[in-house]
Symmetry: C2
Subunit: 347 residues, 2 copies
């Protein structure tokens, strides 16, 4: 298939599963009393989102069970003849993601999320803290009820909880790094892995755990998720500099204007580039395309953009190799496409 | 035994287990990287606390296994011949308690906790949010590793997560009630049950789950915890009005001065007492003992203090009857003493 046809196919696969995930969220996390608490808890989930992590989770299940999209996600066949609620596991992952967004937005003082006000902005900080906390425990409640072998469910919950710990550690490192001026690219990558990539890892590994797959398959799926999740974050930094503003939906180079440290700036510093001087004094409102072009040219000359782009591509390739642990079918093909898709656009 | 001897015995039992729990916290939740995150997460745990919930958990285990304090809490005998890490379960409960304190202090804007600064005050709000989140997932990680029958561990984690959801709901109700002037005592009791009592319930029930006790025993232990936890909260409101300031360690009647709604004020309102007029215009700094005496006399005349006191005593009696589900031994006696102790002093 051409790149375009591949992208079309993966977008259709995501859209199809997104609808089902959205319906399932309403079932597994219904609006209930106390009204305001659950409204606030569901607010960001209702505001949209691509459901990439749940989609990855469903696809891993489909690939392992070799069902090609025909099975009932709520009574999904394990590889050893049992049955689990794969959809609930996918919802649980998305609920965790949503909890981290709500708390991160408070910490980072971000006003907007998915085109709507952040929860602490729409409601208040106390409600946002509590909404996040509620999603946290709800995610564990939902995961606890997937059925199947209790040992597998327990292992899934162990993985979910250790993943949440790593996310907190990653967020803590991210905050700490803001005051560091001697950050190595390796430290940045470690932060990205914990803050975002591990949840992709859990999304891909947990279905393998629940479907009673071999440990080697579980490990391969975890690596697939972590590597493609890391590639996605790194590519995001590349796209911020290389995609025209109108396509990005925000000012190109805004990370650079806002002095946000990325893998690209860290590499450039190591190459002796005066990163802080690149767009000194500019703001997102005042910066010109020409100024950004000059800054990007300097980063390109230092090899920093290629460095990041190549790392994202390399990680994506590696993640796709992990899929060899799966049966060769439509779902495993889609997982490869999904990995490619993650670095093709800036989501 | 006299009341004094009973209290001495239960205090010794608590003190003895507190030391062991404190040691176990250092093992199960060690200081690690990122340093500041784990420092902040451990800060309130290190500041003290009676460890009443872990003590209740250990005592339920001891009563069920009939060991009279001789068994290894880390390799504790189940009633069906297995082994679990009962101490880890006790630590997990305390870690959850600590997470709720950290987040509640942010929401309630409380500056002090256990005689030290609240975490958001000692560090900052972002760190406090993240420290609470870290404790949340760590508690689940710790519980996941107690060993024994995976089905029991899964059930313990299910109970822990549904308990956390109820705590969030209770906190949400507590905040919502601040703007209500038509609150019924039943609604207040429902809030108290969710906000605080359910964690006592989980502390008592989870050991029964892990030790493979019958469902009837699990249910009885849950009720024991919830009822004695509720009694404790209600009695706390009574003590605020009836215990001299020097014994309380804070101004007697401070809840009333600060217009905090309690079971007592809600009952008094129903009896037609002008609660808002009782100490109108006073502050904790300016209020006199005579003014408080007058206010208390009005509440007493309305029968409101007796109403709360009798409810606390009744709940305590009921909670002690639940202990009939346990073998008759020193540990089950101590659980009865613990229930009495909870309403004897103002912790």
């Amino acid at each position: 298939m051409t790149q375009n046809a591949t992208e079309k196919r993966v977008l259709a696969a995501i859209a199809q599963r997104r609808e089902l995930v959205n319906d399932a969220i309403d079932v597994d996390l219904p609006q209930q009393e106390p009204e305001r608490l659950y409204e606030a808890s569901r607010y960001i989930l209702e505001a949209g989102g691509k459901r990439l992590r749940p989609t990855a989770a469903l696809l891993v299940g489909e690939a392992l069970a070799d069902v090609d999209g025909e099975a009932d996600y709520r009574a999904f066949p394990t590889v050893t003849g049992g049955e689990v609620d794969l959809m609930a596991a996918a919802v649980s992952i998305e609920v965790i993601q949503s909890f981290t967004l709500i708390h991160d937005d408070i910490m980072d003082d971000d006003d907007l999320r998915r085109g709507v006000k952040a929860v602490h902005n729409q409601y208040d900080t106390s409600t946002a803290i509590l909404a996040g906390d509620t999603l946290y425990s709800k995610a564990f409640e939902i995961m606890a009820d997937v059925g199947g072998d209790p040992a597998n469910t327990l292992e899934a919950m162990r993985l979910l909880s250790s993943t949440c710990t790593k996310i907190c550690e990653g967020q803590s490192l991210d905050v700490a790094f803001e005051s560091r001026d001697d950050l190595a690219p390796e430290e940045y990558l470690e932060m990205v892995e914990r803050k975002t990539a591990v949840l992709y890892g859990a999304a891909a590994a947990i279905p393998a755990v629940l479907l009673d797959a071999d440990e080697a398959v579980v490990d391969a799926m975890y690596s697939y998720g972590v590597e493609s999740g890391k590639a996605f974050q790194i590519q995001d930094d590349v796209l911020d500099l290389t995609v025209p503003s109108e396509e990005l939906g925000k000012q190109r180079g805004s990370d650079l204007v806002e002095n946000k440290e990325t893998l690209i700036t860290l590499h450039a510093r190591q190459q002796g580039v005066d990163v802080d001087g690149l767009l000194d004094g500019s703001t997102v409102e005042t910066v010109t395309e020409a100024e950004i072009d000059d800054a990007v040219a300097e980063l390109e000359a230092a090899g920093s953009i290629d460095y990041a782009r190549e790392m994202a591509e390399e990680l994506t390739e590696r993640s796709k190799q992990r899929l060899e642990a799966l049966p060769d079918n439509e779902a495993s093909d889609l997982l490869a496409d999904l990995a490619d898709y993650l670095i093709s656009r800036g989501y």
